[in-house]
């Protein structure tokens, strides 16, 4: 029975074993906790980076299938060793450092990018008792870490000593900061529902998943987190076939690999956060008694959300930069603010009623807001239609008779 008990909550079991071991070596309790946290952080960070390997393979396969081609299939059965080959290639490439770079920003930028993604893993609750740290301001922490991501991009652009890199970095960071506002406002609406900023409390208070309370909020959050990550259809900053430079143009070898890893991992991390906040995280049948089941539920939910992101990536064409900025500033932000006011009023007026009634009314309001907002924006922006360049027929472009073309000067 002890084995079953250990298996049902392995992480706590390991933690207690380590603390017992340290106690036997005569370490004081304060240093014990510190060392256990250190080991836990190392394991979590390494685990997150190792997940990236699977993610890279899966994403390339899925995008390949969406584009009607096979993904990588040469290295190993179904190409599952492809990321290993990628890793080896990136490790052994030469670090070409351009001439006039500023050493500290240039070398710091990939580190800050990866660090900002890994920090997000520290507040995600994996089960009732297992999480990196039960921060009581976890949502503000998530937003702040997004800010660190923008900083990494700016440092990369500036440190490269390349005007085009800098320009691209500014554009990428303007995109990232613009999409952080709707995310933050939707998180505010979530805090109203749950009464706490801590992720553990938010997951615990979701007897009914918040996506039913705030479907519009979930939509806004999903779109904003895809855009903040810089993935398609918002990937103007790293458009593979268009720009001469991205902000990570001057990086080679492992440093570029770190940007690459940060990009892919960020997609999965925002899927995990989305499913924690909106889909109920580790909650599911039987997750309170058997914590490892909670971990499995979280994995399933976030894989579904991540798959949705990859699906969108493979299907939609890229937005123009002015369309992208118009979406956030003219559509998402006012909509999110209106949603917040509506949620605040409705939840205060319906404070002690049945939860399902609240869900129903909020659902109706969400859908209504979406359509009203869309209609208003459409009407507002109508006067900006582009002028049709020319509607005159051009004689030379439409030869009627090729044998008489030369008479008109063709």
């Amino acid at each position: 029975m002890k084995i079953l008990e250990f298996l049902s909550n392995p992480i706590i079991g390991i933690e207690q074993w380590i603390m017992q071991l340290l106690e036997n070596w005569g370490v004081t309790p304060e240093w014990q906790t510190f060392l256990v946290y250190l080991i836990g952080a190392a394991i979590l960070g390494t685990g997150a980076l190792l997940i990236t390997l699977i993610l890279i393979w899966a994403e390339r396969k899925i995008i390949g299938r969406l584009q009607d081609r096979l993904g990588p299939n040469r290295i190993g059965p179904w190409g599952i060793f492809q990321p290993v080959a990628d890793m080896l290639k990136i490790f052994i490439k030469e670090h070409i450092i351009p001439d006039g770079v500023d050493p500290i920003p240039y070398h710091l930028a990939p580190i800050i990018s990866v660090a900002s993604v890994l920090l997000l893993w520290s507040v995600v609750p994996f089960s009732d008792s297992v999480r990196g740290s039960d921060l009581n301001v976890a949502l503000l922490f998530i937003l702040g870490v997004g800010g660190l991501g923008e900083l990494g991009v700016i440092l990369a652009g500036w440190g490269s000593n390349n005007k085009y890199s800098m320009l691209s970095a500014f554009r990428a960071s303007a995109q990232m900061i613009s999409y952080e506002i709707p995310m933050a406002i939707v998180l505010l609406a979530t805090v109203i529902l749950s009464g706490s900023m801590s992720m553990g409390d938010i997951v615990k208070s979701q007897n009914i998943a918040y996506i039913f309370f705030l479907p519009l909020g979930a939509f806004i959050f999903f779109v904003a987190s895809i855009a903040e990550n810089g993935r398609a259809p918002f990937d103007l900053a790293e458009a593979e076939s268009e720009l001469v430079a991205g902000f990570n143009m001057e990086y080679s070898g492992l440093k570029f690999g770190m940007f690459y890893v940060a990009d892919f991992l960020r997609a999965f991390t925002s899927a995990v956060i989305f499913s924690s906040i909106f889909l109920g995280g580790w909650r599911g049948p039987g997750a309170e008694q058997i914590p490892i089941l909670g971990f499995v539920y979280l994995l399933i939910k976030s894989v579904i959300v991540w798959f949705l992101g990859v699906w969108i990536r493979g299907s939609l064409p890229r937005f123009r930069v002015d369309q992208m900025m118009a979406i956030t500033w003219k559509f998402l932000t006012p909509l999110a603010l209106a949603l917040f006011i509506a949620v605040a009023f409705v939840m205060k007026l319906l404070e002690n009623t049945n939860q399902w009634l609240q869900v129903l009314i909020l659902l109706v309001i969400n859908v209504a807001l979406f359509f009203v907002g869309f209609a208003i924006i459409k009407k507002f922006e109508k006067e900006k239609e582009r002028k049709i360049v020319s509607s005159k027929k051009r004689v030379l472009a439409q030869p009627t008779n090729p044998f008489t073309q030369s008479e008109t000067g063709g």
Partner: protein, 73 residues
């Protein structure tokens, strides 16, 4: 490799505008977080207060919108 002649960037002021509007809304959201956390214990009047807070800033936002500061040229 250095470029042939010194180049300069046409740094659009649009970046600064986006940063400025982001800053203002960031501070607004920071003010609204304690309101949201203490929501269970507040009266309806507090919701009205917070709505006034947001509406004042929405008025400014409307001004910014009409002034065309949000459009990327």
């Amino acid at each position: 490799m250095e470029t042939y002649k010194p180049t300069w960037i046409q740094f659009k002021i649009q970046y600064y505008l986006y940063g400025l509007i982001f800053l203002i809304f960031d501070v607004e959201i920071v003010f609204l977080f304690p309101f949201a956390v203490a929501f269970g214990k507040l009266a309806l009047f507090a919701v009205v207060e917070a709505t006034i807070f947001i509406l004042i800033l929405l008025g400014g936002y409307l001004y910014v919108w009409r002034k065309d500061a949000l459009t990327w040229q």
